[in-house]
């Protein structure tokens, strides 16, 4: 089983809990000036900023499932229109000019439905890719938040003694700077993945402009003029029975 929407929601809950702890312990060292406070502030700000997009990423997870449902539906349509559908027995009973015209249009509709299945699958892949990249990024954010919270707790214990205060603040500052660097690096990696997904979803538009599947950028025409003549009163049988 891969990572899913519930894993993501759980991760976000843990990040929010970690962020609360971070702010709580930061407030306890707010009096501490210098590099520690500055680095901690930058780290907290970075976490806050990146979490702004967490809700839309959650929507990506849900939409990936939605596109999977779209793919399933249109693929089913393509299957229903296929020759393998046992409910399609018209070819066993009918022949003639109109029947030939009818048989010519069926594959076009089948191909259009199949093409939409490909498109839906690609959109789903792009969404999943982006959401998983965000998940990986937020995992790093959580890990670094917890590291810094642990450093804050350790520093607070040392701050009680005058002798250890300076060293504790320097250790804390180093932890915050290192944490920020790791998060920034992860952000770059997520950005690269996102850039790929953006190109991928852009290319999907060319699938939709596939002239073979969607002539004139629309669904193929029914072509019903070619097979609607059922009467023999005009002197011909365009739909002719196979019998005997």
């Amino acid at each position: 089983m891969g990572i899913g929407v519930h894993d993501y929601e759980e991760l976000l809950d843990r990040i929010h809990a970690g962020r609360e702890k971070l702010e709580h312990y930061m407030s306890m060292v707010v009096w501490a000036t210098g590099p520690a406070a500055l680095a901690l502030g930058e780290f907290a700000y970075q976490v806050e900023i990146t979490l702004l997009d967490a809700p839309v990423v959650l929507r990506f997870w849900h939409n990936a499932d939605g596109w999977t449902a779209v793919r399933t539906a249109v693929t089913a349509v393509a299957g229903e229109l296929g020759d393998g559908n046992p409910r399609r027995t018209i070819n066993d009973h009918w022949a003639g000019f109109a029947a030939d015209n009818y048989h010519r249009i069926v594959p076009m509709h089948q191909a259009a439905a199949a093409e939409l299945g490909i498109v839906a699958d690609k959109v789903q892949q792009a969404l999943t890719w982006t959401a998983q990249s965000a998940y990986a990024f937020y995992t790093v954010v959580l890990a670094q938040t917890l590291v810094i919270v642990a450093a804050l707790i350790a520093a607070l214990a040392e701050l009680a003694s005058v002798a250890g205060a300076l060293a504790a603040l320097m250790t804390l500052a180093a932890a915050a700077v290192a944490g920020l660097a790791v998060v920034t690096e992860a952000l770059v990696a997520a950005g690269t993945a996102y850039a790929w997904a953006k190109v991928f979803v852009y290319n999907i538009r060319s699938e939709l402009n596939n002239i073979a599947a969607f002539p004139g950028h629309t669904w193929p025409a029914s072509g019903s003029a070619g097979y609607r003549d059922a009467t023999v009163t005009d002197g011909d049988a365009e739909w002719s029975l196979r019998h005997g």
Binding site: V70, L81, T130, R205, L241
Partner: protein, 104 residues
């Protein structure tokens, strides 16, 4: 080869109605998919980072929904046409038109 029997003709027009039903079912699925796809449009999110991605995604969703909707129309037309053909053929058979013209 002799003339087809009434039961053969009935079986053939029934087969055509069954074929029409396949198209109606498929059309209905496309219409439902159009509605489902429109609901996938991502809005109410003020994301700077993902703005372009969301725009492309929404454009794809709009286009897929439109194609499904036009597919619904075309597939229904196929279904109605086959139904009309079957009805016309059966009505002419019931009126003995095929036998009179020796056209089947």
């Amino acid at each position: 080869m002799g003339q087809p029997t009434p039961s053969e003709i009935r079986a053939s027009t029934d087969a055509m109605h069954a074929e029409a039903a396949v198209w109606f079912t498929a059309a209905g699925e496309l219409q439902a998919t159009a509605v489902r796809t429109r609901a996938l449009t991502i809005d109410h999110y003020d994301s700077v980072v993902f703005r372009e991605f969301i725009e492309e995604h929404n454009a794809a969703a709009d286009q897929v929904a439109a194609l499904c909707q036009s597919g619904y129309t075309q597939l229904n037309d196929v279904g109605y046409t086959l139904g009309d053909v079957a009805d016309t053929y059966q009505a002419e058979e019931d009126a003995n038109v095929h036998a009179m013209n020796d056209l089947y």
